[in-house]
């Protein structure tokens, strides 16, 4: 594998030096393109108080293509499926090289604050979210407590 591009190095450095509040991203020891990410559940969201683990991988042609991000911690969210895949436009067609890891993670954090059931990935969750938001939020809180709290 070719050496790490300067951009990734820079980004990593900056992530370490000036971490985004509520977000930590640490590159893997053996692979500098693989990041262990922890995102705190945003305040005033059903995910508040949870620590959500994600994995983030910078593909070969990053930044020309979007990083791959996935939730490891189970989360009850209409745009995140059971495998942790995230439905977020900037990770897909709206990716721009001007975006960075930190912006991506911030977007994800924002996604937690503002679920978008109209563009669902987990259909059942999205359905419930649309039909019975309160129950959905309760479920989300329950999941958060169950999966994202203790450890």
């Amino acid at each position: 594998m070719a050496a790490l591009p300067r951009r990734i190095i820079k980004e990593t450095q900056r992530l370490m030096q000036e971490p985004v509040p509520g977000i930590s991203a640490v590159p893997d020891d053996s692979n500098a393109r693989y990041f262990h990410v922890i995102v705190t559940g945003p305040e005033d969201s059903p995910f508040e108080g949870g620590l959500f683990k994600l994995e983030l991988f910078l593909p070969e042609d990053y930044p020309m293509s979007a990083p791959k991000v996935r939730f490891i911690t189970k989360i009850y969210h209409p745009n995140i499926d059971r495998l942790g895949r995230i439905c977020l436009d900037i990770l897909k067609d709206k990716w721009s090289p001007a975006l960075q890891i930190r912006t991506v993670l911030l977007s994800i954090q924002a996604l937690l604050s503002a679920p978008n059931p109209d563009d669902p990935l987990a259909n059942d969750v999205a359905e419930l979210w649309k039909v019975n938001e309160s129950e959905a939020i309760r479920n989300a809180k329950e999941w958060t407590r169950r999966y994202a709290m203790d450890n």
Binding site: A2, A3, R6, R7, P63, K94, S96, P97, A98, Q100
Partner: protein
């Protein structure tokens, strides 16, 4: 500031803007790689990462977007403010790296000849650095060659100087001699002429005077007569007249008759020249020519090669090296010859050019010298390149068949392009031979170094980077070959491994058992043979199983031993068998046996050492007895005797070629028998004195016996076979051309001798019916004057020593032996005279082992000592033991060991002939011991029973078909039959591979071009793993035992060793081919010594190849490129040489391998003459056979040769890829094998060896294995 910074940062690469391009949306990005990477080539659009606005790409691409000049100004401003270094890549255009395909600022990489990115380049430079350091290591390792060469050159300068001065001295000397001779002769002739003239003149004057007087007389007479007769004066009376008449008549007669012999004095003296004066003048004028020895040239050019091929050679590909050398040679010659060979050129003016093939080259060289010199060296850049190209060609040639291009090829590729050679400037000092620049002189390097020192630059950047580029050029020849070779070899190895894996494993499994079974069978048969005489001993025998051979030999003694105690009457049989064993050892005829015998006591089978060591050891172990004997000898009144004997011995030497006369034999036998008896008694004494318990004795003796048997095995390859053979009474094969008839005589004499020699004095002739003959002889000997007798003893002894070396006439042997003989003869005197003296001293040896040891030493060193000692000891014994005798007789078998040893020393080669006597002689110990005892004590001690028994035995041996003997004889006969038929039939059956060892590789048990192969005394298989630069040792079943040696030229290191040999004491003797030396290792593989160096002088080598050692430990070396065989003592002392380049009889061309039969026939594979030549040890051609061809009995470049104990010759017919076996006389017996990789197929044969049990080991070089048949 931070924001300012951010403004100057490209959002994509997060780096400072490089060539910022302004998009229509007013966002700016670096042109490369950022904007470039954004391009949607399909839609020819670019989407702004910031605002996602889509813009059409201008026709020229992203370059067409306007540069954000403002931003650029800001950038510059920022740089000015912060003082940052300008971006080194500014202004460059990004390209795709040709290695990692990343877009980057690429630069040209000299290593791979591509534009590549920084990272890849770094990696490449790292590779180069590593390569250089590796190559550098190689150079370091190889530099010694240059140094050696330097030393050699210096030496050569000296030697040339010395040579020239000596030659000029010689010329001067000749001149002086010639002029002196001329002067002398002239003076002599002048004197002669003068003398002649004087005498002639004198006689002429005399004559003249006489004539004048006559004339005057006669005239006066005439006058007087005229006067008186005519005048009738009667003065004279009648008497007077009568007188006057008489006078006148006389005068008339005188005048009439007088004839002056004119011819006498008209003879002219003439200068008669023995030669035509013109010719003489010519001769003198051309009285000498200066001949340039070719070897100087070849050596010289050879010397010069090492720099190039040296390194390659270190990589073990010598073929490559040699080829390279050939190619190189011309270049070197051209370049180098001018300087170096100048004196020779000068010399050539003098005389003629040597008429050799090389002259052309020289002439060429000389002729073109100037030009070439100019070409090569005046034109600075040329020579290296031409050489490279040559080399490149070479490499390609070599590797065309092997593998894909590797680094080596890369290097050559590089050379094709005219790369800027940064280090190669005119200023640099250049190696005059190689054209290699001195890096330190290169201005660039100097600059770098300086910079480095001043520390302005980082270390990493400094000198190493520039080096990689120039490096290939600097060391151009070296890197490629190793690289290529490595790869190729590895690949090959892999291939071969793949191929062989299946085969070898299967074959091994298959063959191993088979072989084992065979061995087993043999084992059993041999067992049967030997024990047959007495059926008792079978259980003990079966216990010992090492190799069949060993077993047989070992068994015989053991069996006899065990049996002996129980059966006294059948002693003879026992003895017979033991005897055979002992005779075996005897037949080994080694002086070295002594040492082995010494060690025998310890039971170590093959620790025998060489003569010298023997001496030493003898000195240690033996001192008391030795000194004693010596003292006694000195005491002995006849001091002059030794010399006499010596002379007589020499005389004998001359005559011994013919079968020695019976009387001589008898004498020999006498002395020997005496010895025997004595020695027997010794051992008896020792054993008995210790314990009367026979079993214990047997035990104690087993060790020695075993050792002896081992010894015997060592001695020559004749082992089991011979031993079995020896037993047979009818067996008449005499190794040394002694006719059969002798054997009976000897038998009588010998069998008797023990007894008779003494019995003569005892006067018990009537004891044996057939003593008469012997008696007569012995009597005759006895009747001799004491002096004569001694003389005779001496002579016989001398003979013995001679006979020891079948070709005892060999000069150097004689030399070597002289001292020994002297000692011996002296001691023999003792033997005759000083029994009394000896007796008292002998008691010193009470410990049997010590005694044996000492004895062994003594016998080895000089049988004379042995004699004295044994005698003394026997006397001692006889005294001590006389009461014990019954037991002692039983122990005779044990005693035999020493006896056998003695015999061995004494009779050496004759044994084979004597072996028939084994039966009789075996008993002789018993009887002889008694007689000896009697003798010493002067008492008729011998018990009648014993006498009877011995008598019976002897009779049996005589062959009377009475029952006990028949059994013996039958057994013996069987043994003989087996032994006799075995070799031939064995060889006729050969063709099935028994097993094979090894495959290609460098691990233990693998080979890379194995060459020499040899069989150790313990039947181990010793292989010269040539290109692994080591020796590997396997047991007789092909199991790996050990290895030693590695690449190098130090002690114990090899450079493509070729021949191996194992001498009788297990030392490994290795022809270290490319180091031009012989190395000797002890049985454990420890370096002992090395000798020889490159050259043509005596004791020097040019690629020594095959090597072998004879029974005496002499080392025979095929000095291949010197086309000769050299002979050395085991300590490396040059002894002799024979052979010279040519195809005539006795000449050799590239002799490769050599073998020596136990009859001391030296078999040499005269490879390029496609024949086998057989020499005697003096280098006289005995026979030769084979011509070029592929019919039976014809050869193509024969290589390995081996001789078995029967004299059958095995030849590795390399060019025909087959093994041929010949009768001892050189007639074809059979051949087997063909080209291929299967079992029994060969690819490039090298050494062969024959094991004592009849296996043939074949070194299948290109298949990297040893095959056993």
């Amino acid at each position: 500031m931070e924001q300012f910074e951010q403004l100057l940062t490209c959002a994509i690469c997060l780096d400072r803007y490089r060539n910022p391009k302004l998009l229509p949306c007013q966002h700016s990005f670096c042109m490369e790689p950022c904007l470039e990477g954004l391009v949607d080539y399909v839609r020819r659009q670019v989407k702004c990462p910031e605002c996602r606005a889509e813009h059409r790409i201008p026709y020229q691409g992203v370059q067409g977007f306007p540069t954000n000049v403002t931003l650029q100004r800001f950038l510059e401003l920022h740089i000015e403010i912060t003082g940052e270094l300008p971006d080194p890549t500014s202004g460059q255009v990004m390209e795709r790296c040709n290695v990692c395909s990343e877009k980057a600022y690429c630069s040209f990489c000299s290593h791979c000849d591509k534009k590549i990115c920084e990272e890849c380049k770094g990696a490449h430079m790292e590779i180069l650095r590593r390569e250089i350091s590796r190559i550098n290591n190689q150079i370091r390792r190889g530099i010694h060659r240059l140094q050696d060469t330097l030393a050699l050159v210096e030496k050569n300068t000296q030697s040339i100087q010395a040579n020239c001065s000596s030659v000029s001295e010689e010329v001067e000397e000749i001149y002086r001699r010639l002029s002196k001779a001329l002067k002398d002769r002239t003076e002599y002739l002048r004197g002669e002429i003068g003398r002649y003239m004087g005498t002639e003149m004198r006689s002429l004057t005399n004559l003249k005077e006489n004539l004048e007087q006559e004339i005057s007389n006669i005239l006066s007479n005439c006058d007087l007569a005229d006067k008186h007769m005519n005048e009738n004066v009667d003065i004279w009376d009648d008497c007077e007249l009568m007188d006057a008449k008489e006078i006148f008549l006389k005068t008339v007669e005188f005048i009439r008759n007088f004839e002056y012999e004119n011819t006498d004095y008209s003879r002219k003296i003439r200068l008669v020249l023995a030669h035509d004066p013109n010719q003489l003048v010519l001769h003198v004028a051309g009285f000498g020519d200066l001949n340039l020895g070719n070897q100087h040239f070849s050596q010289g050019s050879g010397m010069l090669q090492p720099p190039g091929p040296g390194l390659m050679r270190s990589k073990s590909d010598h073929r490559l090296a040699s080829q390279f050398r050939q190619q190189e040679e011309r270049g070197y010659d051209r370049g180098y010859g001018d300087n170096q060979e100048e004196p020779l050129l000068g010399g050539r003016k003098f005389g003629e050019r040597p008429k050799t093939t090389t002259t052309d080259r020289y002439g060429d060289r000389y002729g073109r010298g100037g030009n070439d010199y100019g070409d090569d060296y005046d034109n600075d850049t040329r020579p290296p390149r031409s050489r490279y190209s040559r080399f490149r060609r070479h490499v390609q040639d070599n590797d065309s068949d092997t593998e894909q291009p590797t680094r080596g090829v890369r290097f050559t590729e590089q050379q094709k392009i005219e790369r800027e050679k940064v280090l190669d400037t005119e200023d640099v000092a250049r190696g005059p031979l190689s054209g290699i620049t001195r890096l330190a002189d290169s201005p660039r390097v100097m600059k770098k170094l300086q910079e480095n020192e001043s520390g302005k630059k980082k270390e990493k950047e400094a000198p190493p980077p520039p080096q990689p580029a120039p490096q290939p050029k600097v060391v151009p020849k070296r890197p490629p070959p190793p690289a290529n070779r490595q790869v190729s070899e590895e690949d090959e190895i892999a291939k071969i491994k793949k191929q062989n894996k299946g085969a070898t494993t299967s074959t091994e499994t298959e063959t191993r058992p088979a072989e084992r079974v065979a061995a087993e069978e043999r084992h059993t048969t041999t067992q049967r043979k030997t024990p047959a005489p007495e059926a008792i001993s079978s259980p003990e025998e079966s216990d010992e199983s090492v190799t069949s051979l060993q077993q047989t030999q070992r068994k015989t003694p053991v069996t006899t031993k065990t049996a002996a105690p129980t059966r006294r009457p059948s002693d003879a049989g026992h003895k017979k068998s033991t005897r055979s064993a002992s005779s075996d050892s005897n037949s080994s005829t080694e002086t070295s046996t002594a040492s082995s015998s010494a060690i025998r006591s310890t039971g170590a089978p093959f620790t025998t050492e060489e003569v010298k060591q023997k001496y030493l050891s003898r000195g240690n172990a033996d001192t008391p007895q030795d000194t004693r004997t010596r003292a006694s000898s000195t005491v002995s009144n006849k001091e002059t005797q030794p010399q006499k004997t010596f002379q007589s011995r020499f005389l004998h030497n001359k005559t011994t070629t013919a079968p020695p006369p019976a009387s001589k034999d008898d004498e020999e036998t006498e002395s020997s028998s005496e010895e025997e008896t004595e020695s027997d008694e010794d051992s008896d004494d020792n054993t008995t004195s210790k314990k009367t318990d026979t079993k214990e004795i047997a035990k104690s003796d087993i060790g020695p016996l075993l050792a002896r048997s081992a010894n015997a095995r060592d001695s020559s390859t004749e082992n089991a076979r011979r031993s079995s053979r020896d037993e047979t009474p009818t067996y008449t094969r005499s190794r040394y051309g002694i006719p059969k008839e002798e054997s009976p005589v000897r038998k009588y004499g010998r069998s008797r001798t023990g007894t008779t020699s003494s019995t003569v004095q005892d006067e018990e002739p009537a004891r044996y019916g057939y003593t008469s003959r012997f008696l007569n002889k012995s009597k005759s000997t006895a009747t001799l004057q004491p002096d004569e007798e001694e003389h005779k003893y001496g002579s016989t002894l001398g003979e013995d020593s001679d006979s020891k070396y079948p070709t005892g006439r060999s000069r150097y042997m004689a030399l070597k032996e002289r001292r020994q003989r002297l000692a011996r003869s002296r001691s023999s005197q003792q033997f005759g005279d000083e029994e009394d003296i000896d007796e008292p001293i002998s008691p010193t040896s009470s410990n049997p082992s010590a005694y044996l040891a000492s004895k062994g030493y003594g016998s080895a060193a000089s049988s004379g000592h042995d004699l004295a000692r044994s005698r003394s000891s026997h006397a001692l014994k006889s005294r001590d033991n006389s009461p014990d005798r019954p037991s002692t007789t039983e122990k005779d078998g044990a005693a035999l060991s020493s006896w056998a040893r003695y015999l061995k020393n004494k009779y050496g080669n004759r044994n084979s002939g004597k072996d028939k006597d084994s039966g009789t002689s075996s008993m002789s110990p018993s009887s002889s011991s008694t007689t000896a005892r009697r003798l010493s004590l002067g008492l008729p001690l011998r018990s009648s029973t014993e006498l009877g028994s011995s008598d019976d035995d002897q009779k049996n041996m005589q062959g009377s078909p009475t029952t006990p003997p028949t059994a013996v004889t039958a057994a013996a006969g069987i043994a003989v039959a087996v032994a006799g038929t075995s070799p031939r039939s064995q060889y006729l059956q050969k063709c099935q591979q028994l097993f094979e060892i090894g495959s290609r590789g460098s691990e233990a048990g693998c080979f890379t071009w194995p060459r020499g192969v040899a069989v150790g005394p313990d039947n181990s298989i010793v292989v010269a793993d040539s290109s692994n630069h080591r020796v590997q040792v396997f047991d007789s079943n092909g199991r790996f035992l050990k290895e030693f040696g590695q690449y190098g030229n130090g002690e114990g290191e090899f450079d493509c060793l070729a021949g191996v040999a194992v001498n009788r004491i297990g030392q490994y003797i290795i022809a270290d081919r490319y180091n031009h030396r012989i190395q000797v290792f002890d049985p454990s593989g420890r370096f002992l010594r090395a000798f020889g160096s490159q050259g043509t002088a005596d004791g020097r080598f040019n690629y020594p190849w095959g090597i072998t050692t004879d029974a005496l430990g002499f080392i025979y070396v095929c000095d291949k490129e010197n086309h000769r065989v050299q002979v050395f003592q085991s300590d490396g002392t040059f002894v002799g040489k024979f052979g010279s380049m040519g195809s005539k009889e006795g000449q050799l061309e590239h002799p490769h391998y050599i073998a020596v039969s136990n009859t001391n026939r030296v078999v040499v594979s005269d490879s390029n003459n496609h024949r086998i030549q057989i020499f005697d040890v003096n280098g006289k051609v005995l026979s030769s056979f084979g011509i070029e061809g592929s019919e039976d009995g014809q050869f193509k470049f024969p290589r390995g040769v081996a001789v078995d104990d029967q004299g059958y010759i095995c030849v590795a017919d390399s060019g025909n890829n087959r093994i041929q076996i010949f009768h001892p006389d050189g007639t074809f017996l059979r051949s087997f094998g063909c080209w291929g990789i299967g079992k029994g197929e060969f690819k490039g044969l090298e050494g062969v060896a024959m094991t004592p049990n009849g296996h043939i080991l074949v070194c299948d070089r290109e298949n990297h294995r040893i095959q056993v048949f």
